[in-house]
């Protein structure tokens, strides 16, 4: 068994390195495995974004967490897949005192890529853009935030999540 780690690099140059449950890459790659390997990461967020949906634009201080779940699964045909869920549990207050709540999630299923060794060890490298809504608590327009992520799983089952630039805000 190898100790596994999840790494999150935020756009704010915040580096979080958290231990998670020990798990084996071999468990994930074993052809006859019916079990899954589960990981999760809670990453606290403290971030300021500009809400251009209000006039004039306001500054919103966000708190809460991004929470990532990941598990690996061997399909009946021997293919290895990862299931990824990004959770967003955020609250925010803008410079006018308006409160926002964001509770959303986004799911992915990806076929893992053998690393070229024998026996093959699954790896993954993908970029995506998670989209989640910040609901204004009142008549103020809601915000829709899009955050680009670069997610990698290496042959040692280390998972890294890197924010690819800052969040993009759209108005509802």
């Amino acid at each position: 068994m190898f100790a596994k780690r999840l790494t999150v690099l935020s756009g704010l140059a915040l580096l979080t390195l958290l231990p998670v449950n020990s798990a084996s890459a071999q468990t994930c790659s074993a052809p006859d495995s019916k079990s899954t390997v589960n990981y999760n990461l809670h990453n606290p967020i403290s971030q300021t974004v500009t809400n251009s949906c209000t006039s004039p634009a306001t500054t919103v201080n966000l708190g809460g967490e991004f929470f990532f779940e990941f598990h690996c699964e061997t399909k009946a045909n021997g293919d290895l897949h990862e299931h990824w869920t990004s959770h967003y549990n955020l609250t925010g207050t803008d410079s006018n005192g308006i409160k926002y709540i964001g509770k959303d999630q986004q799911n992915y299923d990806l076929k893992l890529d053998p690393d070229g060794t024998f026996p093959p060890v699954p790896t993954s490298d993908f970029r995506t853009s998670d989209k989640f809504k910040l609901i204004a608590q009142g008549p103020t327009p809601d915000m829709i935030m899009t955050q680009k992520l670069h997610i990698k799983v290496d042959a040692n089952n280390n998972v890294t999540v890197e924010k690819d630039g800052g969040p993009v805000v759209k108005c509802k």
């Binding site: 959303d104 992915y108 990806l110 890529d113 993908f126």
Partner: protein
Amino acid sequence: MLEGSKRVVLKLTILLLAFAASQATLLGQSTPPVTYTYTASVTNQATTNSCSAGEPVNLTGTVQFSYQVATDPATGKNQFSITASNNLTGVGQTTTGNYTASDSADYVLSSGQPSTEATVQLKSELVSQGSGPSMTLVQTLDITLDTDGNISAQLTDSSTQCGN
């Protein structure tokens, strides 16, 4: 003897410079990856509504997939870049009000294999044109594509959310 060595060094230098120049020319003329397009039609597809204030909506329009296959310069692996965009109109099954949705999302998959597959979610605002509330439309897309530019893409689920 020394002069002979100088000549060899000079010739080698010229050869190296010529090689470097040819490579620069080749790099400068490198063709961009081909952009492929595939459009999936959506006809009267019903959404599953998980929003207490919302309603099921029948959607019609398109989901378009634009994609490129290139080589990841960092890893040498195949890099599949996909943009999924929808352009939909809808009719509410309770209010008969109209809805529209138009948005896109980008996905980049790196793989050492000649093909890759993924199931992703495309989120967009389902904007009400009538009395019903606007909702978030979540479309589930199953995508398989290869280095020859072949794609299989299906819209397997459409649901609506209200947020919180």
